[in-house]
Amino acid sequence: MQQKYTRIQLASVFVLLILIGCASHDVTRVEDYNQFAIKAAQAGLWNEAIFRWQQAVSIDPDNAGAHNNLGVGYEALGKIAEAVSAYQRATELDPDSKYYRINYRRCRLHIRRSGVDSEETQPESSEELVEN
């Protein structure tokens, strides 16, 4: 009888370990995607960064950080409508983060200042715009 209980205990511990392993594997993947995307963003490769953040969001849809970063990526590419909804989602998931609020506020300020509204504003080629 005692041997049976020990077996069950062992099996349950084993299952638990597998589950923890799977969960941590997902977390690690999201973190890896995020780290890679940040490096890509810092190098100016915004399309690549967005792709990674999209993958992170698809794995963990409740990750406020990934939504926020995705918003930054969209904004950098001039996809204002997508940026706004990503920032919105980030602030909904974590209303206490001041950084998400700052990003969201700056984005809205930019919209108001430039009168872009939610229309798509893909950056034009550098020849068409005055360099900063």
């Binding site: 995020n34 780290q35 940040i38 963003a41 810092q42 406020a64 950080g65 990934a66 926020n68 970063n69 930054v72 904004e75 950098a76 001039g78 950084y99 700052i102 990003n103 700056r106 930019h110 200042r113 430039s114 009168g115 872009v116 504003t121 950056p123 068409e128 715009l129 005055v130 360099e131 900063n132």
Partner: protein, 251 residues
């Protein structure tokens, strides 16, 4: 108070719990610090004027302000050259069309451009109709220099003291300053829609000897360079352009 702090530090050595808490607190703080990364993103900034309405311009030669101290030393063509620089800077933008130099010279033949003309919006509007443009760009410039003694602090090796010692050197700092006033006049309404002064400066270091020579040297090249910068700044203001803004990424 000091005693309390001392006793707390001593306690922290003796009691491992406090040490652990301190270490954990430090780790927590350092983890918080690395959580956010600041990145710069390009954001599109719209023109400060209505570029759909004001899409074609005529640029008239710039006039020297009467108060300019260096008026006698600069040739009159400098005003024409500033206008040419502005014309080429605007023409590079796809949003604007600019009346070329020859056409401007042809229409302006016999016309005297003086400082008084800048306030005569009726006459400027009339000229704008000849050019068949929506906006006419006029302005004035003031180019002057100022000199003041300055001191440069550095280090030199003292052979007597066998070490580096603090040292200074006096020199003359000559600054070239340009104030370029640029105005846009709406040809249809005769109203001034843009009136901005652009300040540009550059500095040179001189010894007494080189300073005397620099006073005699021609200054057109410096003025041209400063004008180019001012023209670029103006063009940037009235054209859609990108600016860098900070955003926060979460690690």
């Amino acid at each position: 108070m000091q005693k309390k702090i001392k006793s707390f530090i001593l306690q922290s050595y003796t009691q491992p719990k406090i040490t652990c808490m301190l270490v954990m607190g430090l780790l927590f703080l350092s983890a918080c610090g690395n959580k956010v990364t600041r990145v710069s993103i390009p954001v599109k900034v719209q023109s400060e004027i209505d570029i759909n309405t004001y899409s074609n311009f005529a640029v008239l030669p710039f006039v020297s302000e009467k108060s300019s101290a260096k008026l006698g030393e600069l040739p009159i063509e400098i005003g024409t050259e500033i206008a040419a620089l502005l014309r080429s800077s605007l023409a590079r933008q796809k949003h604007f069309e600019v009346v070329d130099k020859q056409e401007t010279a042809r229409i302006m033949t016999g016309e005297v451009i003086e400082e008084e003309l800048l306030s005569d919006t009726e006459r400027l509007s009339e000229l704008g109709h000849y050019f068949e443009v929506k906006g006419i760009i006029v302005g004035s410039y003031r180019f002057y220099t100022d000199t003041q003694p300055a001191r440069y602090y550095g280090e030199r090796y003292s052979a007597r003291q066998q070490r580096y010692v603090m040292d200074y050197q006096d020199y003359m700092q000559k600054r070239y300053l340009l104030s370029l006033r640029i105005m846009i006049i709406d040809v249809d309404t005769e109203k001034i829609i843009w009136d901005e002064a652009y300040q540009q400066s550059t500095a040179e270091a001189h010894s007494i000897g080189s300073f005397v020579f620099s006073q005699m040297a021609p200054q057109e090249a410096t003025l041209r360079e400063l004008s180019k910068r001012a023209a670029a700044e103006f063009t940037r203001d009235i054209s859609p352009h990108y600016e860098q803004e900070d955003r926060f990424l979460m690690r």
